[in-house]
């Protein structure tokens, strides 16, 4: 690569096999969102699962808090290139939320209180891979980070872990979400650097 950016050395951050290509580690927790932070009180909060058959399951805040809680620890990777290791969360596994749902769906769409959506294959949100979380690092989740509850899907880029989550809908077909239609990759595997749709 001679002639490119002569004299550039870089900082040689500590190499880690837990940091995907093109990412750097941060100790902070940057805030990224497309619009204002919505204010959602737990009195008004509900979480809904809608199967492809139209079957609905709804939990209010108290019912949700009574579900079995898990405390996942996860490395998270933002498409804007920061990664953060060993983040700790508390919330309910999607497996728990789907336990009573009769579905053969192949895809899921996550919806939020401010009207955004993000999509993923159904197989990516089951078997202990995804949660709806209400605590971060032992504290109630701050509104700017998605509180009262956000989706957590750490093995894909972090825009898939939608803030202010309100519902999951299950589908037979793939329905690209808000960021996916705005140029981000449909799947978003950080280890394959699936950041953008081709052509962007």
């Amino acid at each position: 690569m001679s002639g490119l950016t002569p004299g550039f050395r870089g900082h040689r951050r500590i190499e880690s096999d837990r940091v995907p290509p093109g990412q750097y580690l941060t100790e902070d927790f940057p805030v990224l969102s497309a619009g204002p932070t919505p204010s959602i009180g737990t009195d008004d909060w509900t979480f809904t699962v809608v199967a492809e058959t139209g079957e609905r399951h709804v939990w209010d805040w108290r019912q949700f808090a009574a579900l079995p809680q898990e405390t996942p620890t996860a490395d998270i990777h933002c498409v804007t290139r920061w990664s953060k290791l060993d983040t700790t969360w508390k919330g309910v596994s999607i497996d728990t939320l789907l336990a009573e749902v009769d579905t053969t769906a192949d895809f899921a769409v996550v919806h939020t209180f401010d009207g955004y959506t993000t999509n993923m294959p159904f197989a990516d949100i089951t078997d202990g891979q995804a949660w709806v979380v209400t605590e971060y690092e032992g504290e109630p989740l701050a509104a700017e980070h998605g509180g009262p509850a956000r989706f957590l899907l750490p093995h894909l880029y972090f825009w898939k872990s939608a803030k202010w989550v309100s519902a999951i809908t299950l589908h037979d077909e793939d329905n690209p979400g808000f960021w996916e239609r705005a140029g981000y990759h449909d799947y978003g595997d950080p280890w394959l650097e699936q950041r953008y749709q081709s052509g962007w």
Binding site: M1, F8, G10, P30, V31, L32, A34, G35, P36, G183
Partner: protein, 235 residues
């Protein structure tokens, strides 16, 4: 995907912000507000990539970024100070289809900038000028001191800015004639210098996370519909 781009011009904007003009091999244009990735490569193959907002419409195949130097940053000091004119970096883009202004949208526009958050908003102002749009723009630009105003000459020239009203909001130090008390952006600033919600303006807010959060809260409190407010946060 990645392409080589030659640095053809460097303009110092302020003590900490520098504009870099690149000539990519091929550029098919971009929307005002989009960004692009810049990749730097060391002799041993080590690479670093950052995203920067495009500061102006493409012209004669050239694109420009305004980069704020981050103290001890890995990439920005090199771009601002060390990349020689005539040398190449790699560029990929444009990226981002959300935080953009399109001239076909005729709603009035309210731009709210904090510090170097002005860059993608200035791209919108320049796009408006380039296409001779008559969409009315208002810019509220929060900045520490007069010396830190990026694009100050351009923003101060009435002949360039018909239909654009600019209000500078100083937080630490202001010229003597400024009567507004020093301080962060507040409700009174947006009431006095922004568009009222009943005009249904398209609102773009860009700056540090805390600034964007505060400004967006004010717009919501004034009755602006959250779906008309687009934000871009950094830091």
């Amino acid at each position: 995907m990645w392409q080589k781009a030659r640095l053809v011009e460097r303009r110092v904007e302020t003590a900490s912000a520098t504009t870099l003009v690149f000539e990519p091999e091929q550029w098919d244009g971009h929307l005002a507000g989009q960004h692009a990735d810049i990749r730097l490569t060391a002799d041993d193959g080590y690479q670093a990539v950052r995203s920067y907002s495009l500061a102006a419409p493409a012209r004669d195949g050239r694109i420009e970024f305004t980069v704020q130097r981050v103290i001890d940053g890995e990439v920005s000091p090199y771009l601002c100070d060390d990349l020689p004119e005539g040398a190449y970096a790699e560029i990929r883009g444009p990226v981002g289809g959300w935080f953009v202004w399109r001239e076909a949208d005729t709603r009035p526009v309210m731009l709210v900038a904090g510090g170097s958050g002005i860059v993608p908003l200035q791209a919108m102002i320049r796009q408006r000028r380039a296409v001779a749009s008559r969409v009315p723009f208002r810019l509220l630009y929060s900045v520490r001191s007069p010396a830190e105003v990026i694009y100050s000459d351009e923003l101060a020239r009435p002949s360039l800015n018909g239909g654009l009203e600019t209000s500078l909001l100083y937080t630490r130090e202001a010229p003597p004639e400024v009567r507004r008390p020093l301080g962060r952006i507040g409700l009174a600033d947006i009431t006095a210098h922004g568009w009222p919600p009943e005009f249904e303006p398209a609102c773009f807010i860009c700056g540090p996370a805390g600034f964007v959060e505060a400004a967006a809260k004010i717009l919501i409190a004034l009755g602006h519909d959250s779906h008309r407010i687009k934000t871009e946060r950094f830091g």
